[in-house]
Each structure stands twice: as structure tokens, then as C-alpha cells.
């Protein structure tokens, strides 16, 4: 009995010690010199491994920074402070005057505004719907409403609103651009967070066609272009587009837009509520 204990202790002890020594030797022998800066940079990065930078995960990006393949502020998701910290690790200074961007969905044609031409019951994915039948909406430029952008968002910053259009949570949005790439209609762009006036339409259709399909589409009337004192909004191919560099958030174009396709962000909700209230009132009046 005592013999068995002794034998097992010695044999296991020897095997364990041998393997321990082997591992210790191997860790020295096969040590790979990894740059300590890679670990430091990885520490600073968000660690979401979203891949928006084009590298496989945050570590891949950190390695690329150390290798000099990308600039220190190449992470589209990190804040400018994080970029400055990475710059510190790499020994360069970053001028952080770049403004924070957020995603904005350029379509206002929800269930109520946009006409439906058909029911879509296929794969719930915008890209699939776009291929099959150009979607269920009459407007061939509008949001397909199947939430491909919401699924693409790794930061939980997008959700589908009650009107069938995606909503961006500006606090959570990191402007990684994955939703921009996911949208087959190219409806999402990244705009500076402090610019609140947006054209919620991407329709290149002529006025008549747009009006037939949607109550809030841009008809290309150029009223906004004339109203703008800052040369910030231009109509090309029957579609108004804002040059955010010149826009001052004055809201002149919003007031002049006959179809309400230009909005001031934040007012959207109140407008919708007012509409519902006024509809209810008119309906009530009709019932009476």
C-alpha cells in the first residue's frame, strides 16, 4: 500500500516535472518576439472586433498600426481620445479635430407615407428583397424595411421603428459604416453629429413619379436650393442633397420643402405625433 503511494507519487511527480521543464524550455526556445506596442494598442481599442477597419479584429488592426500600414486614427469606431492614446503609444501626435459622425437613414417613407405595390414574404433580408422584386414599395429607391442594417450593426445602435424604417441611436452609433455597406439601396450615410438638417429621400425619380409613390419624397423642385443662403443644399437629378460642410442648421430649407422630405432631426417625432393627432381629430369630425 505504502509502496503504491510512493510509486505513484514519484512517477507522476517525475512526469509532471519533466513536462513542466519541457514547457519552460519551449516557452524560451519558441518565444515569438511580439511587439509590446501591439498589446498596448489593442488595450486602447474598443475590442468589438467589428472589422470596420478592414482588418481581422482589433488585434489585426493593432498589428497593422505597429507595422505602419494604417494611421493611428484608422479605427473608425474609436473616439478621437483613443486615437490620441494610440498615437502616444506610437510616438506621434494626432490632431483630433475630426468630428464625430453618426449614421443617418435617408428615407422617410414609412408604412404611412410610402405606397406598397406588393406583399413580400421571402427571406427577411433587404438584399434578397432587392434582387427578387425591387422590394414591396412602389418607390424603387426607398427603404426596404427588412432590417439588414439593424442586423449588421455590432453596437446595437439601430432598431426598426414602428413605421418600418430603421432608427439610429446616436449615442450608441460609432460610425463604423457597416450599415452603410449593408444597405442595398445606399440609403445610409455618415453625417456629423451636430448637423441636424437632413434630406430623408434618395429618390432620383421625377416629381410626378415620386408623388405617386410617396408623400414625403423629394420631387426636385429646388425650393430648398433657393431658400438656402449658405450654398449648402443642391438639387441634382431631381434629388436634394446637403453639403454638411456649409450647413448651419438654420432650417430655411425645411420650412420651404413642399413635401416635408427635409427634416430637422429631433422634430421628427413631434411632427409624426402632430400628424396622428390631427388625423384623429379629422376622423372624429368625419364620424360626427
Amino acid at each position: 500500500m505504502a509502496n503504491t503511494v510512493l510509486v505513484s507519487l514519484v512517477s507522476m511527480g517525475t512526469v509532471g516535472a519533466l513536462f513542466g521543464a519541457g514547457l519552460a524550455w519551449a516557452s524560451r526556445k519558441f518565444a515569438v518576439e511580439s511587439d509590446a506596442r501591439v498589446d498596448d494598442i489593442e488595450e486602447i481599442l474598443p475590442g468589438a472586433n467589428c472589422g470596420a477597419c478592414g482588418y481581422p479584429g482589433c488585434r489585426g488592426f493593432a498589428e497593422a498600426v505597429v507595422a505602419g500600414a494604417v494611421p493611428c486614427d484608422g479605427c473608425p469606431v474609436s473616439s478621437s481620445e483613443a486615437a490620441a492614446l494610440i498615437g502616444e503609444v506610437m510616438g506621434v501626435t494626432i490632431d483630433s479635430n475630426s468630428e464625430r459622425l453618426v449614421a443617418i437613414v435617408h428615407c422617410g417613407g414609412g408604412h404611412k407615407e410610402a405606397k406598397e405595390k406588393a406583399d413580400y414574404v421571402g427571406i427577411t433580408d433587404c438584399r434578397a428583397a432587392a434582387i427578387v422584386s425591387d422590394g414591396s414599395k412602389g418607390c424603387e429607391y426607398g427603404c426596404l424595411g427588412l432590417a439588414s442594417c439593424v442586423k449588421a450593426c455590432p453596437f446595437d445602435a439601430m432598431s426598426m421603428g414602428p413605421n418600418g424604417l430603421p432608427i439610429v441611436d446616436e449615442d450608441k452609433c460609432t460610425a463604423c459604416g457597416l450599415c452603410v455597406a449593408a444597405c442595398p439601396r445606399d440609403l445610409i450615410s455618415l453625417a456629423p453629429v451636430n448637423k441636424v438638417v437632413h434630406v430623408l429621400c434618395r429618390s432620383f425619380g421625377r416629381g410626378r413619379e415620386v408623388r405617386g409613390n410617396c408623400t414625403v419624397g423629394c420631387i426636385g423642385c429646388r425650393a430648398c436650393e433657393r431658400a438656402c443662403e449658405f450654398d449648402a443644399i443642391h438639387v441634382t437629378d431631381f434629388l436634394a442633397e446637403i453639403n454638411y460642410a456649409n450647413c448651419t442648421n438654420c432650417g430655411e430649407c425645411v420650412a420651404k420643402c413642399p413635401t416635408n422630405s427635409i427634416i430637422i432631426q429631433g422634430d421628427q417625432v413631434t411632427v409624426a405625433v402632430e400628424q396622428t393627432v390631427s388625423e384623429q381629430i379629422s376622423e372624429g369630425a368625419r364620424a360626427n
Partner: protein, 193 residues
């Protein structure tokens, strides 16, 4: 030779490690979302299976059996497997970065995979020779890869299916695993092992 072939076919199909013995279920469900990663995981596991099969066989044959210490099998095997995988990981990282990138992430995962320990214990129970052990380990690895790749293929197709909400994700994966297992049970009795 015929016996080796029987061992191989037996461990690939008839007694598939995942679908019949229910060993290594964790990676079967965890790493079976895409065929590419499933293949990578399968390769890495096969590699470790053969390596640890040989190592544990040597340990049992030259240390545990002569000293009459069969009760130490489990502990000793775990020790061997864990250190061996660590060693292999370091070795790969140094000598073959390409292979390390392909298998690297899976290696630490495999250390704690019960298929590896299961194989070690099975070979001892059956008194296999070294050659038989290697063939058995190879078969187990191929069977594991087969099950994983099939599962990944099904799950890739499944992304386009309209799955009832409560069954999405793990639920439907487990149901599929059960059906696949039943299909593999059909091989039982083909080879008595």
C-alpha cells in the same frame, strides 16, 4: 490490415465520436456556424487526437502499466494532453505562422475537449497497440471533422430558413444534432466493436 480498416471505419461512421458517443459536443455546437471554421477545427482536433493518442499510449504502456498505476489514468492523461497541446501551440507559433493562424485559435479550446480524453481512455480499455491507436485516433478525428462539417453545412442553409422564433439558434441546432445522431445510429451493428 483488415482489422485496422475496421477500426478506422468503425470510429468514423459506426461509433462516430460526436454523433454516437456524444464526445466533443461543445465545439460541435460552438464552431459549426461556417464550413471553413468547422474544417479548421476538425483538422486541429484530428491533429491533437493523433498526437495525444500516441503520447497517452506511451505513458500508459511504459509508466502506468508496468508500475501498476491504472487508477492514475485520468489525471495523468489530462496532464499529458494539456502540456502537449501547449507545447504544440508554441512550436507552431514559432515554426509555422501560417499553420498557427489556421489552427491557433482552436488549439487551447481542444485541450479541454472531452473527445481527446475519451480517446485516450478508450484505447487503454481496448488494449490497442500503438499502430491501432494511431489509426483509431485518425478515424476519430475524421469522424469529428465529418460531423462538424455536415453540421456547419446544414446551419449555413438554415440561415435562409424560416425558423420559429423560440427555436432560433441553439434550439434548432440541438434538434438537428439529434436528427443527425439518429441517422448515424443507423450504422450501429455494422461492425461489432
Amino acid at each position: 490490415m483488415a482489422e485496422l480498416a475496421l477500426i478506422f471505419v468503425g470510429s468514423v461512421l459506426v461509433n462516430n465520436f460526436v454523433l454516437v458517443r456524444f464526445l466533443g459536443i461543445c465545439p460541435f455546437l460552438g464552431v459549426s456556424r461556417e464550413i471553413d471554421t468547422a474544417m479548421g477545427m476538425g483538422m486541429a482536433t484530428t491533429f491533437v487526437l493523433v498526437l495525444s493518442g500516441v503520447a497517452t499510449w506511451l505513458l500508459d504502456y511504459y509508466i502506468l502499466a508496468p508500475f501498476g498505476l491504472p487508477f492514475l489514468q485520468n489525471v495523468a492523461f489530462i496532464l499529458i494532453i494539456a502540456s502537449l497541446v501547449q507545447l504544440v501551440e508554441m512550436f507552431l507559433q514559432k515554426t509555422s505562422p501560417a499553420l498557427y493562424r489556421a489552427l491557433g485559435i482552436f488549439l487551447p479550446l481542444i485541450t479541454t475537449n472531452c473527445a481527446i480524453l475519451g480517446l485516450a481512455i478508450l484505447t487503454v480499455q481496448r488494449d490497442y497497440t500503438l499502430i491501432q491507436t494511431i489509426v483509431f485516433a485518425l478515424g476519430a478525428g475524421v469522424g469529428f471533422t465529418l460531423a462538424l462539417t455536415m453540421m456547419a453545412g446544414i446551419r449555413q442553409q438554415l440561415q435562409f430558413a424560416d425558423i420559429p422564433k423560440p427555436l432560433e439558434g441553439a434550439g434548432i441546432a440541438l434538434i438537428i444534432a439529434g436528427l443527425m445522431s439518429m441517422a448515424f445510429m443507423g450504422f450501429s451493428g455494422m461492425i461489432a466493436m
